[in-house]
Symmetry: none
Subunit: 413 residues, 2 copies
């Protein structure tokens, strides 16, 4: 038995006036999602706990079977791993932005006008040989990814994630002093290092040739690097070891990729997959169908439902759900349903009204051999609440699926 | 968005033969409670955990979002705070009764014949200047409230709540020796102090003029003070800080007032509100409607449903539920329902048959903007069990409501 878990990011929502009191899931044409509900067992699930809005990182840790309240150690390291940066135990990683500040270190633009990746890469080269004056035994690793985005990684003895951000996350505000968030020498040391680095980044960047060129062209200079979200690798057992399985993940968002990777899954690159509305869902489905030949568990993530909610775009969300439905149709038509569990859920509710992650439960449906089907015939937030799974928690999903695969270990004798 | 939480104390019950197999909630005419169910999302809720009968204190700690199993530290301090006695961290407080004992210290009447408040106040004056011989650094504070009721508070270094009661809670039994409940010097010291005080109270009271006057009038002398329910302030973060809200509570029962106050809520005094069957529920509703103008969260408590169950009065309980329904009708008719969440529940089940708090779950309904309504059309123990909230715990109610208000913090990024 194999399993494919489809996660529509932020797909769950609240009833909306624009949709005549329906949620986007309820309003969408989604025969294949409904097929999973009708042929499966349904329920609602609190990703973390009732009322608690999850981040993308904590929600995915939970969906992969980890108690996020215990194992979560910040976003930075997960984002770094997902961006292809090697993170070792003990390393402290930050998410960074190339940004534009004025002479008083006030933020003019948090993304340096969404600087082109090429320019950012040229700028990043000057950080290759940074050595910290006061902390010579701490290694500084800096890697830019797409556009303004980058990762800063500190490697060395006695570092801490308990430090604040230098990024004020607000135009017009000054770059923040990084402060220790607990009373340990580790936190004080780490804060001092990030402050020292912020000065150093600014000094090296403001006179860089790339920036003079940009300014001549009327572009904003990327004259500082802002850091946020200090994180370490969570101390978790990979699902491959935990359940004795082969597992693969199809996702593009660096943070989700990071979670999947630290959970021990192989990341599959799929051409045409973008993380936006135009993503190629059939390519995704085909990749999942291939992967399930050689893996026990395939995780298939679609991002754009969440993007639509954050952008308050009702119709785009409905259409993206219909696109996910097409993807699931392709899975159903081509998978060997005699030996494949197909599960569908969302990592959290993202409200089209507030544009934020909310703490409402998400629907879940699991179809496949051995499943105790129920009366639910439609996949939705309210229909699934009447399903045979009842109300569960995110952390229980993976054991539930692994149980159907015969991969959970007996507790007791 | 604002929220009003209505709690009918002990309102939930079990099916009764006298009501043709219905519960009091099912038997009552309650169109407005049903309106909340029909226009809201329903569920059942275990205040603490399945099968565990909660006290009024632990149930309300849970309803306000605290893990009572972790934070509960006895009834005494909560009762004291609710009675207007200042309790500082470390103080140990007891609920006390003026009582009547014979010459062998056997209890003749646990409430000194429900002594008048005036007489009790005059008696209480003699405790103003008690100093403990063996423990001169422990301060003794004694405050009587209504009739026989009083609070004893010990303030000083190294006191413990782990001591037994001197109150045998039974006529004909001897006043109990107070014993340490764990093997710490703190518990031994506190037990010794309460024993010393019991002797001292008896000595001062038995020869008091008030008591001779009472005996001349044929009244029982209040010749001892019985102590029970040692408690400290729970170490909790007020909900006002936890969620960044303004919050107010309307309740009369000292214990519930105490919980609301330590939870950081402003207590509103409402004329005509009595805690008994004749309480003015419209005055309560109006107070809540005013309070919700300037508060994010208003807690509205009605006591007498519980009283009816303790007294085995079936019809009185049904009528009291109908009175709560009138209160809710007034809320619905006058609140701005576009921006107000109305939630209704009970703090526990109190059985009309046993007259005791029981561990059955309670029904809950939450109506208002953004709520995922379900098919439930009646508010009751059995109808709500089919609702969209499923079966939750008391501790999850507050995050669920705060999530609808946009007041829960995201966990993760």
């Amino acid at each position: 038995m194999k399993a494919i878990l489809v996660v529509g990011d932020g797909m769950a929502d609240r009833p909306l006036r624009e949709l005549n009191g329906k949620t986007p899931l309820e309003a969408a044409e989604k025969p294949s999602l409904d097929w999973v509900a009708e042929n499966g067992v349904c329920g609602i699930m609190d990703p973390i706990a009732p009322g608690i809005p999850p981040g993308s990182d904590t929600a995915h840790l939970a969906l992969l079977g980890y108690d996020a309240l215990k194992v979560y150690t910040g976003r930075g390291a997960l984002e770094a791993v997902g961006s292809g940066v090697e993170v070792l135990p003990g390393d402290v990683a930050f998410r960074c932005n190339f940004a534009t500040v004025d002479e008083n270190l006030k933020v003019v633009n948090r993304r340096a006008g969404r600087i082109e990746t090429d320019d950012a890469s040229r700028l990043a080269r000057v950080f290759k040989e940074i050595s910290l004056e006061k902390h010579p035994n701490v290694q500084v690793i800096f890697k830019n990814s797409i556009q303004h985005r980058a990762i800063l990684l500190l490697r060395g003895p006695r570092l801490s994630t308990m430090v604040s951000d230098s990024d004020p996350q607000k135009v017009g505000s000054s770059v923040l002093r990084v402060r220790p968030l607990d009373n340990t020498p580790e936190a004080r040391k780490t804060a001092e290092i990030v402050d020292e680095l912020t000065q150093c980044f600014h000094k090296k960047l403001k006179e860089h040739r790339v920036n003079s060129e940009r300014q001549k062209k009327g572009l904003l200079p990327a004259n500082i690097v802002l850091c946020r979200g200090a994180g370490k690798l969570p101390d978790i057992t990979p699902i491959t070891l935990r359940y004795g399985i082969q597992a693969a993940a199809i996702c593009v968002m660096p943070l989700v990729k990071g979670v999947c990777k630290v959970a021990g899954m192989r990341l599959l690159a799929v051409p045409g997959v973008t993380g936006t509305y135009d993503t190629d869902v059939i390519a995704k489905a085909n990749s999942a169908l291939r992967a399930v030949q050689t893996n026990d568990f395939v995780f298939l993530h679609v991002k754009a439902t969440d993007v639509a909610s954050h952008d308050h775009k009702v119709q785009q969300k409905v259409r993206m759900i219909e696109k996910i439905d097409t993807m699931i149709e392709h899975l159903i038509q081509n998978a060997n349903l005699e030996e494949t569990i197909i599960a569908v859920t969302a990592d959290h509710t993202t409200s089209l009204v507030t544009g934020e992650h909310e703490g409402d439960p998400v629907p879940v449906a699991i179809a496949g051999p051995g499943v105790r089907t129920d009366d639910v015939k439609e996949f939705g937030e309210r229909t699934c609440a009447k399903g045979g799974l009842g109300r569960t928690r995110g952390v229980d999903l993976m054991p539930t699926i692994m149980n159907l695969l015969g991969k959970t270990k007996k507790f007791g004798a």
